[in-house]
Symmetry: C2
Subunit: 158 residues, 2 copies
DNA sequence: TATAACTGATACTATATTGGTATCAATTAA
DNA sequence: TTAATTGATACCAATATAGTATCAGTTATA
C-alpha cells in the first residue's frame, strides 16, 4: 500500500522566493549598486542561481545593472509597483488551474468545464490577494518588525 | 537570452483533475458499482492511471470497491462532504507556500518570514475558497448545465 | 596599463515530480 | 471454468526544480 501523495503543493518555488529576497535587498538600498555576491552572501542564496534570477529581472525592467568593479544591481521599478503576482508570473509562469483552460479546442469532458468555472473564480481570488502584496509593502513590514536595518544576522523564530 | 520562465504554475495536477472527474462519474450513479474501465473510456482518463487514483480514494474512504465480474467502484462518502481541498491534499499534498513554513528550525532570513506572514494569510483564503467547492456542488452544477444525463458524447466549447 | 571585481551569457548536472504503462495475483458472476 | 474485474506494485519517460561551472566582456583603481 504505497501512497501516491506528494510532499506538498508549493505555491512559491525557490526562484520566486529568492527573487523576492533579492528585491528586498535592493529596495533597502535604492540609489546604489549592490553586487550579486553580497546579496548571495548576506541572504544565503546560491550565487550562480541568483545571477540568473537577476538577469531575468533586468529583462523585465524591474532592476538595472552596472558592469565592472563597483558594479552591481539597483532597483529600477517602484517597489510598490512590483507585486508577488508579477514575480510568480515571471518565475513560475501564469497561474493556471488545469491544462484545459487556455486551450481553445475541443474538450471531450464537460465535467472538467464545470470545474473550470469554479476554479477560474478561485484563480481570480488568488491573484487579487497576491496583487496586494508588493515589494514595497514587504519592505515596510520588514522594517517595522526590525527597526534598525536589514540585518544579515540569523535570527531564531517559530 | 534564454528565459527561465516555466510554462505555468499549475493549481490542479492530472491526479486531482482525473480524481474529480471519476468522483463525478460515481456520484452520478450512486448505489451501483461502476468499473474503472467504463470510467476511463467515458471520461478519457488513462486506465491504469485511473486505477491508482481509485485505490488511493478507497484508502481515504471516499469510495468502496467490489472485485470480480460486475465489480467496480461506488461512492461511500457524501459527495457534499468531499471538498476540492481534500482532493488536493490527497493527490498533491498540503498546500504550502515555501519550504520554510513547516520547518520549526532556525531560519537565517527574516525577509522570508515577513513574506511568510502574508502568504499564510493568502493560503487561508485559497483553502477556504476550495472548501466551498464539493463534488456534490459540482455534480448539481453539471446537471443544471446539462439536464439530461452525464453524457459521454464530446461537446465543443470555447 | 594591468588586474581584480564585476556582469552577460549559456551550457551542464542531479534530483524530484508528473504522467503514464505493464504485469501478475486474487476474486467473483455467469 | 472462464472472462471480467480489482489489488498491488514495479517500471518508464518527460518535464520541472535546484544548483554549478565556465568563459567572455566591462570598468574602477592601484
Amino acid at each position: 500500500m504505497v501512497s501516491i501523495k506528494q510532499a506538498a503543493m508549493k505555491v512559491l518555488t525557490k526562484n520566486t522566493d529568492y527573487a523576492i529576497r533579492a528585491l528586498l535587498a535592493l529596495a533597502s538600498k535604492t540609489g546604489s549598486y549592490v553586487s550579486a555576491k553580497s546579496i548571495a552572501t548576506e541572504h544565503d542564496i546560491p550565487y550562480q542561481f541568483l545571477r540568473r534570477l537577476l538577469q531575468e529581472m533586468i529583462r523585465h525592467n524591474l532592476i538595472v545593472s552596472k558592469e565592472g568593479v563597483q558594479g552591481g544591481f539597483m532597483m529600477q521599478k517602484d517597489p510598490d509597483e512590483i507585486t508577488v503576482t508579477e514575480l510568480i508570473e515571471i518565475f513560475q509562469g501564469k497561474v493556471q488551474v488545469s491544462e484545459c483552460m487556455f486551450r481553445k479546442q475541443i474538450c471531450g469532458n464537460r465535467a472538467r468545464c464545470v470545474l473550470r468555472h469554479e476554479i477560474m473564480r478561485i484563480e481570480q481570488v488568488v491573484q487579487s490577494e497576491f496583487e496586494k502584496v508588493t515589494i514595497g509593502k514587504l519592505l515596510r513590514d520588514l522594517e517595522a518588525a526590525n527597526p534598525v536595518k536589514l540585518s544579515s544576522t540569523p535570527i531564531t523564530h517559530n
